[in-house]
C-alpha cells in the first residue's frame, strides 16, 4: 500500500520575538531579536542573565483560556495551549463551543516538552511538602507536573480523540514530535495531528544549564548580541522558551475540506547515537547525526541539491562546526554547494523542548513564503566554517524554496530530522 501523503495545514507559535504565524514570519524576516535582560536572573546570580521569554502572555492567556482552565496551568501548559489553539484556528477549524460534547476521534496531538512543569514543582509542590502541608496542595498538582500536562490540556480544549501524548527527547523533542505525528498520519492511524513542543520560562529550568556553563555569560549588557550560533565568539547558548505547533493532516483530508496547504512533509527520521563513537549524554555521535539526516532525506526522495535551505540546530556552542560538517558529509556536498545554513536560535535563543516546534514553524514559513532569514551575530564566522561562508546569510534573503530540512539534536545523543517540501 502506498503511504499516505501528509501536509501542513496550520501553524501556531508563541516565540520570544513574536506571537502568531504572521507576526513570527515578519520577525524572522526583520531579524528581530527576542532576547532580553531579565533582572530576576541577575538577582538569582545566574552567569547568563539574558533569555528569550514570550511577551505579554498575562494578557494573551485571558483571550485564549478561561479563569477555571488557568487555575491548573503553568507556563509550559499555557504556551502549548496558545500555540495549539492558534494552529487549530490557522488550519481553518472552529474551536468547539462550551458544552460541545463531541470527540474528534481522527485528530490527536503530540506536543513534547523537555523539562515540563518544574516551576510548579519548585514554587508550590516542594515548599508545601517540606513544610508538612501536603493537604494544602489542592487538587491541581498532578495535572501540572505530569509530563503530559501540556498535551492533556490541549486535548480537553479541542475534544481530541486520537493519540494524545507528550514526547520528551531533550532538545530534539519538538522535531521528534513532528516526525512521530507525520508517521502516524502516514500509516493511516490519524487524519490530523497537532505536533510540536513547548517549554516554560522558569529560572529553575535554566539554572542547571547555567551551572554547566553552557549558557553565554559574556553579553548580559547586550542581549540582542548574546545568541551567536556559528560565530568565532560563540560562548554558549541563550535559554529560550515558548511553543511551536504545526497541524499535520493527511493530504486527502486537507483536500476534502479545501484547507490551505503550507507544505508537504516529505520525510523524517529520529535516532540515537548510543553514546558511542564520540557521542555521550551531552555530545552527539556524528555518525548518528549523519544517519539521521541521510535517512530523512532518502525517505523524502529528494536529492541533496534540491534542498534549498537547512534550518539547523546550531545553538552557539562548540558543536556548531561539528553539526555543519555532519550536514555536509550526510548530504555529500562540498561547502560551496551546500543549502543555505541558518539558525533561528540566533533570534530567539534555544527554546529547549520547544525549539524543534518553533523552528519547524519557522522552516515551514520560510518554505511557504520563499525566504531564508538571516542568522544574527555571526559576522565573525567561526574559523572552521569559513569554507561555508557564502552559504550562511547574515540578512534575510528572498529565495524560492522547494525543499527545506530541519533538524534538532539533544542531550542523550538523540537526533531528529524532518524534510518539508513545497506542495504543488
Amino acid at each position: 500500500m502506498t503511504p499516505r501523503r501528509v501536509v501542513v495545514t496550520g501553524l501556531g507559535v508563541l516565540a520570544p520575538n513574536a506571537h502568531g504565524a504572521a507576526a513570527f514570519a515578519g520577525a524572522l524576516r526583520e531579524g528581530k531579536s527576542g532576547i532580553a535582560f531579565h533582572p530576576h536572573l541577575a538577582d538569582a546570580k545566574f552567569g547568563c542573565q539574558v533569555g528569550g521569554i514570550p511577551q505579554d502572555v498575562e494578557a494573551l492567556q485571558q483571550r485564549y483560556l478561561s479563569g477555571e482552565e488557568l487555575l491548573a496551568m503553568n507556563t509550559n501548559m499555557v504556551y502549548a495551549a496558545i500555540a495549539a489553539l492558534d494552529a487549530w484556528s490557522d488550519a481553518g477549524l472552529p474551536r468547539p463551543a462550551p458544552g460541545d460534547d463531541r470527540v474528534d476521534w481522527d485528530t490527536g496531538a503530540i506536543i513534547g516538552t523537555g523539562i515540563g512543569g518544574i516551576d510548579t514543582v519548585a514554587e508550590k509542590l516542594v515548599p508545601k511538602v517540606d513544610a508538612g502541608k501536603v493537604s494544602r496542595l489542592g487538587s491541581t498538582m498532578p495535572e501540572q507536573i505530569m509530563s503530559s500536562g501540556n498535551t492533556a490540556r490541549v486535548a480537553g480544549l479541542l475534544g481530541l480523540g486520537n493519540q494524545v501524548s507528550t514526547n520528551s527527547a531533550a532538545c530534539s523533542t519538538g522535531t521528534e514530535a513532528v516526525v512521530d505525528a507525520f508517521l502516524r498520519i502516514r500509516e493511516g492511524r490519524a487524519e490530523r495531528m497537532l505536533a510540536g513542543g513547548s517549554e516554560g520560562s522558569s529560572k529553575y529550568i535554566w539554572a542547571g544549564f547555567d551551572a554547566m556553563k553552557v549558557l553565554n555569560r559574556t553579553r548580559n549588557q547586550a542581549p540582542a548580541e548574546a545568541s551567536r550560533p556559528m560565530s568565532a565568539s560563540a560562548a554558549g547558548f541563550v535559554p529560550g522558551s515558548g511553543a511551536g505547533v504545526v497541524m499535520l493532516e493527511s493530504l486527502d483530508s486537507a483536500r476534502a475540506r479545501g484547507a490551505r496547504i503550507y507544505a508537504e512533509v516529505l520525510g523524517g527520521l529520529v535516532n540515537c547515537g548510543g553514546h558511542r563513537m564520540g557521542g555521550s549524554m551531552t555530545a552527539p555521535n556524528p555518525r548518528a547525526v549523519q544517519r539521521c539526516i541521510r535517512g530523512a532525506v532518502e525517505m523524502a526522495r529528494v536529492q541533496p541539491v534540491d534542498i534549498g535551505a537547512i534550518n539547523g540546530h546550531l545553538t552557539a556552542t562548540f558543536a556548531d562546526p561539528h553539526e555543519v560538517r555532519s550536514w555536509a558529509s550526510a548530504l555529500g556536498l562540498s561547502p560551496d554547494a551546500m543549502p543555505l545554513l541558518h539558525s533561528t536560535k540566533s533570534l530567539i535563543g534555544h527554546c529547549l523542548g520547544a525549539a524543534g516546534g518553533v523552528e519547524c514553524v519557522a522552516a515551514v514559513l520560510e518554505l511557504h513564503h520563499g525566504f531564508v532569514h538571516g542568522s544574527l551575530n555571526c559576522d565573525d564566522l567561526h574559523p572552521e566554517l569559513q569554507a561555508f561562508a557564502s552559504r550562511i546569510p547574515h540578512r534575510t534573503v528572498e529565495v524560492p524554496l522547494n525543499v527545506i530540512a530541519k533538524a534538532s539534536f539533544g542531550f542523550g545523543d538523540v537526533n531528529a530530522c524532518v524534510v518539508f517540501g513545497r506542495h504543488e
Binding site: S66, E68, G138, S139
Partner: protein
Amino acid sequence: MAQQQEVMQKVVDILRPFVKSPDALSAVSMETSILKDLKVNSARLVDIVLEIEDQFGIAVSDEAADKVKTVGDAVSLIMKNAA
C-alpha cells in the same frame, strides 16, 4: 437568616473561579448542585474546601467534605462549624 444569606454569598464567591458555567451562578440557590448545575470539576472540591477553611477559619473533616453536594450543604457545614 441574614447570616445564612451572608454565608451563601461568600460560598458563591468561593465557587466562582471553579465554575465552568458562569451563567448558572446567576440563578444559584441552596439546592444548586455544585457538580451538576455549576459544572465544577469534581477534583476541585478539594480546593473549594481549602478556601472555605481559610475564609471562615474552620477545619473541615474529610467525612464532612465528602457530604457537600449542593450550595446549601456547604452553607450548613460552615454554619454548624462556626456555631
